[in-house]
């Protein structure tokens, strides 16, 4: 899914990397736990998070996360914005809650990072 479609679906504000609206995101993941991002196949994925500190940016860079959406009207600090700009990482902010934001993107066709569904 393109970043511009994600921005529209979440009625989000794009805070950094406004030249990246054509970027393609292969999957989505949602977590407030940075450790989780480092254990899964999160490279090239969109991250939705309610956590808003500089470690979100650093973890995303290390894990290869392609773009970050802060939910519940969280807004990154100037330090986070500066770091994201340095690494060309798009940061977005939406007023939707985590559940609603994930649901809206899933509805538009964005899927999780799993390579196969677990057995029932």
């Amino acid at each position: 899914m393109k970043l511009s479609e994600i921005k529209d679906a979440l009625r989000a504000e794009l805070i950094t990397a406004d030249d990246c609206l054509n970027m393609y995101l292969r999957a989505g993941t949602a977590s407030d736990l940075m450790s989780d991002l480092l254990t899964g196949p999160t490279n090239g994925a969109l991250l939705l998070t309610g956590l808003c500190n500089v470690q979100v940016v650093r973890t995303s860079v290390v894990a290869g996360v392609a773009a970050v959406v802060f939910v519940r009207e969280k807004h990154p600090t100037p330090e986070m914005i500066a770091q994201a700009q340095e690494h060309g990482l798009p940061l977005l902010s939406t007023s939707f809650t985590m559940f609603s934001a994930c649901g809206r993107l899933f509805d538009k066709g964005l899927r999780g990072v799993e390579t196969k569904a677990p057995r029932p």
Binding site: S35, L38, T59, V62, G64
Partner: protein, 142 residues
């Protein structure tokens, strides 16, 4: 023979700078042009071990060494050491503080994740005498 050696200082409890060393390591490996998967595995090992030093270790140092065979990371700290290495390697076991958890860490995933991403991991630690992690990522794919 090592082709490159760089060391980075890590400050205890400094969550503002935490992760800078790992990002420098990632930058160096990208500039050299290693395989993206090897860079990701090495960067994750560097970041997880750096966060461990910040959270538990006291001040410390991360040393990146490259030779023709592998990426080596040596992380030394002056903290209280790891009391029970086997326990620390169990997923979910953590001695992290509330502040660590508020930063998005301390879920007991760090050392198990380093083990998962590394081709070689040695943990040298005595309670009260700090910890030394030796991590290796092979450059040749098996």
């Amino acid at each position: 023979m090592s082709l490159l050696k760089r060391s980075f200082e890590i400050k205890a409890r400094d969550f503002i700078r935490a992760g800078e060393a790992a990002i420098e390591v990632q930058k160096i490996l990208k500039n050299i042009g290693f395989d993206p998967e090897q860079i990701r595995r090495a960067s994750i090992c560097a970041y997880e071990s750096e966060m461990n030093v910040v959270m538990h270790g006291g001040d410390g140092e991360l040393v990146l060494t490259l030779d023709t065979e592998k990426i080596m990371l040596d992380i030394n700290d002056q903290g209280s050491g790891i009391e029970d290495v086997d326990l620390a390697l169990q997923e979910g076991y953590s001695t992290a503080s509330q502040e660590d958890r508020e930063m998005g860490f301390g879920a007991g995933m760090g050392l198990p994740n380093i083990k998962k991403n590394a081709d070689f991991l040695e943990i040298l630690s005595d309670k009260g005498a700090g910890a030394h992690l030796k991590i290796g990522i092979n450059l040749r794919k098996e």
